[in-house]
């Protein structure tokens, strides 16, 4: 239950960080908040030769309110996101999901970028960022690139990030007027990884019909799952309880969640459907879903 030996580097600039990653390639592992990586080291499930700690690279942390939306530094603590008035005002979905992320002690240390780069399909932030059409900014010695959240996650604990790249920020675009959001999940205990959940972003036109929908499912596959079939049913509809039920049923038609000791695949699918139904209904109900 102690980490294996490694070379520890804690650069203070992004340039040094990128040089270390370029030098060590896949022998190096980035340490951000460490709330997933250090347990993996303690269990000896990860044995990186070099640990590149980015906690001293100050420009990587912070939330910047820009005309096009919020830029959230990758090393921003989850608790900073939770306390941010800008996040609460502009991205209520993030303010809502962050309280489901583990426990206060973990959020005080865990980072936004770390959760995204760790890419656990049962984690809340990857699901929320996918629902919000966020872009992830990766940097390497070769330059910067923007990656749509939906393209970022490849499979369980795997992303498109290359060995020499570090995630530096997430851009969360401003939602159009008339947008409402909701998140629902079910976990056996508060703070545990959920058995299933859904993040919903609905934009209504002046007549009250849904003009744009994002439905993203948690723990439904090996990445955050966009429920395109559900979105298609919602767009153009005046979303009421019946439409929400129908869309939730469509959302889980093509998923095959993997069962474990906490519930088999069918049970998990029912949980996800129920959470999806609740989230759609709440996002659509006047005065219920949070205004984005």
């Amino acid at each position: 239950m102690k980490p294996p030996p490694f070379e520890y580097r804690d650069p203070e600039t992004l340039e040094e960080t990128l040089a270390l990653l370029a030098e060590h390639g896949d022998d190096a592992k980035i340490l951000a908040g460490g709330q997933s990586l250090i347990p993996l080291l303690n269990f000896r499930l990860a044995r990186p030769e070099v640990l590149v700690d980015i906690n001293r690279v100050r420009p990587l942390a912070g939330i910047d309110d820009r005309p096009e939306g919020l830029r959230i530094g990758a090393a921003t603590r989850q608790s900073a996101l939770e306390r941010s008035s800008q996040v609460a005002a502009q991205q209520p979905l993030l303010a809502e999901v962050i309280r489901y992320v583990a426990h206060a002690q973990i959020r005080n240390r865990g980072t936004v970028g770390g959760s995204l780069a760790h890419a656990d399909p049962a984690a809340e932030l990857p699901v929320a960022m996918t629902a919000l059409d966020a872009s992830l900014i990766a940097s390497s010695g070769r330059g910067e690139r923007r990656i749509a959240a939906e393209e970022f996650f490849v499979s369980h604990l795997t992303t498109v990030l290359e060995d020499d790249e570090v995630l530096i920020a997430v851009d969360v675009p401003r939602a159009p007027a008339g947008t409402r959001v909701a998140f629902e999940e079910f976990a056996r205990r508060h703070g545990d990884y959920a058995l299933g959940g859904a993040a919903v972003v609905l934009t209504a036109d002046a007549a009250g019909a849904c003009s744009r929908a994002r439905v993203t499912l948690l723990a439904a596959g090996d990445v955050p799952v966009r429920a395109h079939a559900a979105e298609k049913l919602l767009v153009g509809a005046v979303v009421d309880a019946a439409v929400a039920r129908e869309a939730a049923a469509a959302a889980v038609r093509d998923i095959e969640p993997v069962g474990d000791g906490h519930g088999d695949g069918d049970y998990r699918s029912s949980v996800i459907e129920a959470m999806c139904d609740r989230a759609i209904a709440r996002a659509a109900a006047p005065g219920e879903g949070k205004k984005a």
Partner: protein
């Protein structure tokens, strides 16, 4: 490769040469010899090793000691320090409300809760349970722990 570190714990600086893989929990217990911080699961589940880093509760088993350089670490020993043997009000409340049995988890609970009580937050029982969700206790079923926090909050508000 060994590394020289200077780590501030409870206002005192501990200068040591350590292996970078040393966890902060082990530095606190084995180098600083402050054994009030307990080590339970060592993978961020049980919360027994909770300390405060720059005033915020964090788990010392999911941090490297070297990462604490430049930050203020505060452990359970700091709570009653300088009070001439008196318990900290939160500890006193745990004592009176029977908020512990074996006591193994207690330092973690105290370090999690102390900033909340100090901020004077008016939490109801449900909110208190939310705040302690990251700390496991296998003896009390949490009932008396919540009682203790309610008592500590009442007294803090009454001061």
């Amino acid at each position: 490769m060994k590394r020289d570190v200077e780590i501030e714990i409870n206002g005192e600086t501990y200068a040591r040469t350590i292996d970078p893989r040393m966890l902060l929990s082990d530095f606190i217990r084995h180098e600083a010899r402050l054994t009030g911080t307990h080590v339970g699961c060592e993978h961020g589940i049980c919360g027994a090793c909770t300390i405060q880093l720059d005033g915020e509760p964090v788990r010392s088993c999911t941090m490297l000691a070297a990462q604490a350089e430049g930050h203020r670490v505060r452990t359970v020993e700091a709570l009653a320090a300088g009070s001439g043997g008196e318990l900290h009000p939160l500890q006193q409340a745990f004592h009176e409300a029977h908020g512990l049995q074996c006591g193994f988890c207690t330092p973690g609970f105290l370090m999690t809760l102390e900033p909340l009580v100090a901020r004077g937050e008016a939490l109801d029982r449900e909110q208190i349970r939310g705040e302690i969700s990251g700390n496991l206790c296998r003896c009390t079923s949490y009932q008396q722990i919540v009682d203790a926090v309610v008592l500590a909050i009442e007294r803090h508000g009454g001061e």
